[in-house]
């Protein structure tokens, strides 16, 4: 691979049937992924779901148990990390403690014998606003500064594919916004491909062309940020990306236009095109900001879903909007976000209210939310044992 030149454009990345097993633990199971050249791809997921492992597989620091990795159409599954046109911003920074910041940043350039490494390194350091600390050692920098050095050290190489493992996690909000902008500019200018792992949903949604939500070593859903937010396919995505109100019930009506389920005697409808399943027990969801609160029962209308009456149990003001918690018998507690167009809340704790939303805003999920709340990173032996037992009981009952 011609690694002695800067990439003049990004390369596409394809993962085919990747599986990664560690002794006694499968971190990634049948992962298929296609990232077009020049795109900004964000990987979201709870802690321990296999994001870092995925990046390490792409970088060549880990070998897949099965499957193939293609970068720019070339199969690189069996090549060494230094032969791949890929650079990584490590989650743990991994700066060389025996070198100055400048030498850290120039390391990749020197290995590839790029001309004028020192000036290029200074340039990259100016980009992350750390050029004045070029002569220091990594131990003499703060966590956020180290993170920016790690970023500069990878980006200075202009790789066809840049892997970023939570590269902005240690920065304050202002600096983070600024770095996001810088990253996006670099990515668009050179047309590089970025694979960005983050915990920050907002970051993922504002920066990425495509967002993938990962759970337990598999990609649950991927797509454009807006599509992913407005039409989640699974309960996990609906709850992980933003908040959702979910109602589960048996399908009582199925026409060519809508599917309706019965939630505690009330009909809740979802457009057929927005429902993943059309029969049996179906979970219908709606985002909190799509809901409207009424003090009187709104008139019944086939284009509107109405729930109520329920009681307001909590009102919390958060500047732009106010969050209401409404307990509706049979339907659970519902979250409503309402823009503060007027001074003061539109209803108070203890009020009896109705809730309505446009049927078009409903989405139907492919699965039913788990009764047992799955916490992120529930991979300790105790919870694995608990899950095994539950799975076994479910199997025996069948």
């Amino acid at each position: 691979m011609a690694a002695s030149q800067f990439a003049d454009s990004g390369a596409d990345l394809t993962l085919v049937g990747i599986q990664k097993r560690f002794p006694g633990f499968t971190a990634i199971e049948d992962l298929n992924l296609e990232i077009p050249a020049g795109s900004f791809f964000a990987l979201l997921g709870p802690s321990g779901c296999g994001k870092t492992t995925t990046l390490r597989l792409v970088a060549g620091l880990e070998e897949p148990t099965a499957g193939r990795i293609l970068i720019g159409g070339k199969d690189v599954t069996s090549t060494k990390p230094h032969q791949r046109p890929v650079n990584t911003v490590f989650q743990s920074y991994a700066l060389f403690p025996h070198m100055t910041i400048l030498e850290n940043v120039a390391f990749g350039l020197r290995r590839r014998k790029v001309s004028d490494p020192v000036n290029r390194a200074h340039e990259a350091l100016r980009l992350v606003e750390l050029d004045h600390l070029a002569a220091r050692k990594p131990q003499q920098l703060s966590g956020g500064q180290q993170q920016r050095v790690a970023l500069a050290r990878a980006i200075v190489n202009r790789p066809a594919l840049l892997l970023l493992d939570e590269p902005l996690g240690a920065l304050d909000l202002k600096l983070r916004r600024q770095m996001q902008l810088e990253l996006k500019t670099i990515q668009e200018e050179v047309g590089l491909t970025f694979l960005h792992v983050t915990h920050d949903q907002e970051e993922a949604m504002t920066m990425a062309d495509t967002v993938a939500v990962m759970n337990k070593g598999q990609i649950e859903q991927m797509g454009a940020p807006e599509a992913l937010y407005e039409l989640p396919h699974t309960a996990f995505v609906a709850n992980f990306l933003g908040q959702s109100n979910l109602f589960t019930g048996e399908v009582v009506e199925s026409t060519s236009a809508v599917v309706a389920v019965d939630v505690a005697g009330i009909r809740v409808a979802v457009p057929v095109a927005r429902a993943q399943r059309h029969a049996g027990a179906v979970t219908v969801g709606v985002r909190p900001e799509k809901l409207a609160i009424h003090r009187d029962a709104p008139p019944a209308d086939s284009g509107t879903n109405v729930l109520g009456p329920g009681r307001v149990i909590d009102v919390s003001f958060s500047g732009v909007s106010t969050q209401y918690l409404v307990a509706i018998p049979g339907a659970g507690t519902i979250v409503v976000f309402s823009q503060n167009r007027e001074f003061g809340p539109i209803s108070h704790v203890g009020d009896d209210v109705w809730i309505s939303w446009n049927v078009e805003h409903s989405f139907g999920l492919a699965d039913v939310p788990d009764e047992v709340q799955r916490f992120a990173g529930d991979t300790d032996t105790k919870s694995i044992a608990a899950q095994r037992r539950e799975a076994l009981i479910a199997e025996l009952e069948d």
């Binding site: 060549g60 060494k80 990390p81 990749g108 003499q140």
Partner: protein, 301 residues
């Protein structure tokens, strides 16, 4: 083993300066007892006694290197610089020859043991292979075995295979027991090395050789230097194993031992004192340059 205690302390002192950067700066002043109580003088008195006890042999050796002695150097006959100025003159330079032999043996054994030991240490920490823990255990054995046993066993083997005893057999013997110490010292350093650093090196287009030379080796260097100094100190003052395997070759410790029966010449004191002063100077230089570097960094801000 015989004089390793002192040698080890000197080396440990040197090694400490390498890592002291972080530990310094937070030393709170000791609280002072207000009244004159037994506890306020027992500790200092004990410390002074202990130091006198430790330093008497060294002070004796040093002072008697200036003795205007004739053949044996036991009673004080007057002060002179002669012995320092003409070290190699006595007994056709036997003292100096023994000293030179010891240096050559020490250097060669150290280089070989450090290279082999470092490779073994990296292999043991980084790779999983069969008999890995067994090998780690075996490497400890030479340290635990009495030197007499090692020396005699080795001598018997050389005899059995008809290998003539000379410098080479001494170097082989020293390399053998030094390797264990190198492995133990370097192993600790390898274990504390973050594998992510080497991964970053590979990710940044470093071939395996380049990653070793530019990342792994520089980070292991303090451990390797400490191991080399320890090896040299061990080799330089080894007597028992050397005595079994040296044939007619004279090393410095062997020379002293043999001449002890008919009186050690003052020239031996000179060399012993010089070695001691050299070690002290080495420690001082390391400390001072360390302090200077810290001050420079502090000034840079």
């Amino acid at each position: 083993m015989s004089g390793e205690g002192q040698a080890g302390t000197v080396v440990a002192g040197l090694f400490e300066t390498e890592n002291a950067e972080t530990a310094r700066g937070s030393r709170a002043p000791l609280p002072r007892p207000r009244r004159w109580s037994p506890s306020s003088w027992i500790l200092p008195a004990y410390a002074i006694l202990a130091f006198i006890f430790l330093l008497i042999p060294i002070a004796y050796t040093f002072i008697f290197s200036f003795n205007d002695s004739l053949k044996s150097n036991i009673s004080w006959r007057g002060f002179t610089f002669d012995k320092w100025l003409n070290v190699c003159a006595v007994q056709n330079g036997a003292v100096c020859e023994a000293f030179a032999n010891s240096i050559v043996i020490g250097v060669v054994a150290t280089v070989v043991a450090t290279i082999l030991g470092t490779m073994i240490a990296i292999a043991i920490v980084r790779y999983r292979f069969r008999a890995r823990s067994g090998i780690s255990l075996l490497l400890f054995l030479p340290m635990a075995t009495p030197e007499v046993v090692l020396g005699a066993g080795l001598a018997a083997q050389f005899l059995a295979f008809g290998v003539p005893k000379d410098m080479l057999t001494i170097i082989l013997a020293h390399t053998m027991f030094c390797i264990s110490f190198v492995v133990v010292t370097v192993k600790a350093r390898v274990a504390s090395l973050d594998p992510a650093l080497e991964e970053a090196g590979r990710d940044l287009y470093g071939s395996p050789t380049q990653v070793f030379l530019r990342v792994t080796f520089p980070l292991l260097l303090p451990g390797i230097i400490a191991a080399a100094l320890l090896s040299f100190a061990l080799s330089f003052d080894d007597f028992i194993i050397t005595n079994f395997n040296s044939g007619s070759v004279m090393t410095f410790p062997k020379y002293i031992y043999i001449s002890a029966s008919r009186g050690i010449p003052a020239e031996a004191n000179v060399i012993a004192s010089a070695v001691f002063l050299f070690a002290i100077a080495l420690v001082l230089v390391a400390q001072i340059s360390q302090a200077a570097r810290r001050r420079k960094l502090a000034k840079q801000g």
